[in-house]
């Protein structure tokens, strides 16, 4: 056990507990808060792995963007003390089927990639991992390169999609 292992265990326990709390919580705004903790824990794991850029993006986009959006929409739409709906039979069956299907896909991917056989070799991140960092200018060059392994086309496609979303939002919100 070195310090990276200890931090990994702390972060994982924190994330697992917060994820369970997110699903179990009755109050929707509490669920959003627990989700914030899960996302911050994920960012912590990225920092532990030495991916500082990815960690910062995780905090910026998810913790600072998505959760704020959730909380904002909860504040704008619902009244005080908004509770979740009752657990009726069809809802329970549908969620059980969905979770079993999700777990099945997860298990299939694990078995297909022979992860169980390599699991002993995998282990938690150690101190050796955090030394190699992808610098941000490397990422920037990949993002805007049109050569092999470049991401110019997806990058431009995503920016077009975002522009379309902004225009659509303006049209929906406009007072005609």
């Amino acid at each position: 056990m070195d310090s990276h292992n200890i931090m990994f265990v702390i972060l994982s326990v924190f994330m697992v507990l917060s994820s369970i709390a997110t699903v179990v919580s009755k109050s929707i705004i509490r669920a959003a808060t627990y989700l914030l903790f899960v996302l911050l824990g994920t960012a912590g794991i990225y920092f532990l792995l030495g991916y500082t850029f990815l960690g910062a993006v995780q905090i910026m986009v998810y913790a600072g963007g998505i959760v704020v959006l959730y909380v904002f929409s909860i504040l704008l739409t619902s009244g005080q003390q908004e509770k979740l709906s009752k657990n009726i039979v069809s809802k329970v069956v549908a969620s059980a089927l969905l979770s079993i299907a999700g777990f099945g896909v997860f298990l299939f991917m694990l078995l297909k990639n022979k992860l169980f056989e390599n699991v002993a070799a995998l282990g938690a991140p150690t101190e050796a991992v955090g030394t190699e960092t992808n610098s941000i200018d490397q990422i920037g060059h990949f993002m805007l390169s049109s050569s092999e392994g470049g991401y110019l086309l997806p990058f431009e496609a995503v920016s077009l999609l975002l522009l379309a979303c902004i225009v659509a939002g303006l049209i929906v919100a406009r007072k005609s």
Partner: protein
């Protein structure tokens, strides 16, 4: 010649690894740094509260606190002790967990951004190659705390204050991000230590980047003031309409945390302005004046950093006590119709200046 703080930290690290394993030494150092951050946080908050009261008094032709201690120096300390001894009121029919959590979210986001500031050469606490981006990311967590505070207070004034504050902070983050992007465009790096080192070697960014840098500096000051919910943009807590905004229902030290975070966000905003535009710990150097440069280099970097930061804080306080409060629609149209387009044009101007080599 210029004092490098990393000598001290290297010596400490060597001394600690002498009798404990590597990770133990790092843990001890982290604890020491944490203590230092918390102590500095409290000390600067006290200094700034006194400064605000005196400056406010000066602009309103008053004297400010004069009774407790010489020139009222002990007034802030007695205020702090009063705040610490107050009762924390638990409200009925509210979500107690979120109500108690919200101030800690706000204050911890502000403390992490506080740790990004460069105090001296070699005295950077958080220093990644994506430092500026990390700073922007962490500062956006505070909004969640403010929104949760407004919601969990179960009070209409608090909720309206929180909504106004959230809308304002999210909008003005855009301008801050764009102005920082403008400066990153020139420096070519996002790491705070490298930004400071460049300015130490080639001169402050505000002189190197001339017109676009000065424009970016002015936009940053306006947006930073709004980001701290201060100055003419303090309508989330406009006391005449909303009692106190999102922290109406908080008492004792929980209110104290919001108060602390508000003042320290001002300090962080000013510190960031001095890091990115005014050189951080880098002393003022004029090419060709050797004697002057030597004298300036003899002043330690921490003094330079704090001097620049308090100069920017003074500018922001001047702004606050001079202009009347804006309405919410005026605030949002100022951001979306004026500041964002101007800072986008400014970014293009800076990109042109950099690609044609038109900077120093």
């Amino acid at each position: 010649m210029f004092f490098d703080f990393s000598k001290v930290t290297n010596w400490l690290h060597g001394w600690l690894t002498g009798f404990m394993p590597e990770w133990g030494a790092i843990l001890t150092e982290s604890a020491l740094v944490l203590l230092a951050i918390i102590a500095l946080y409290a000390v600067f908050a006290i200094i700034m509260i006194y400064m605000e009261r005196k400056i406010c008094a000066a602009f309103q032709c008053r004297l400010g606190p004069m009774r407790v201690g010489p020139w009222g120096l002990l007034q802030v300390f007695s205020d702090v002790f009063k705040m610490l001894t107050k009762e924390i009121v638990n409200l009925r029919k509210t979500d107690m967990f979120l109500h108690n959590l919200a101030p800690f979210l706000v204050v911890s986001a502000s403390m992490i951004t506080f740790a990004c500031l460069p105090w001296n050469k070699g005295a950077h606490i958080i220093d990644f190659n994506v430092g500026v981006f990390f700073f922007l990311a962490v500062s956006s967590i505070g909004v969640v705390g403010i929104l949760l505070a407004g919601w969990s207070s179960n009070n209409k004034y608090a909720l309206i204050g929180a909504m106004r504050s959230g809308a304002q902070i999210i909008s003005y983050e855009l301008s801050i991000g764009l102005t920082m992007l403008t400066m990153i465009c020139m420096t070519g790096t996002m790491s705070f230590s490298e930004i400071c080192m460049q300015q130490y070697e080639h001169g402050w960014n505000i002189f190197r980047g001339h017109v676009p840098a000065v424009l970016a500096f002015i936009i940053y000051l306006i947006a930073g003031n709004a980001e701290c919910n201060r100055g003419p943009f303090d309508l989330p807590e406009s006391e005449s309409e909303l009692t106190a905004g999102y922290h109406t229902e908080y008492s004792g030290m929980h209110f104290g945390y919001y108060y602390l975070a508000e003042f320290m966000n001002l300090f962080i905003c000013a510190g960031m302005a001095s890091t990115i535009f005014l050189g951080g710990w880098a002393p003022l150097q004029i090419p060709g004046l050797e004697g002057f440069n030597d004298i300036m280099s003899a002043i330690p970097g921490a003094v330079w950093f704090l001097g620049k930061t308090f100069f920017v804080i003074f500018l922001l306080m001047w702004l606050r006590w001079t202009f009347p409060r804006l309405r919410i629609d005026q605030i949002l149209s100022l951001e979306w119709k004026y500041l964002v387009p101007i800072s986008m044009l400014n970014l293009i101007l800076m990109a042109l200046a950099v690609s044609f080599g038109l900077y120093f």
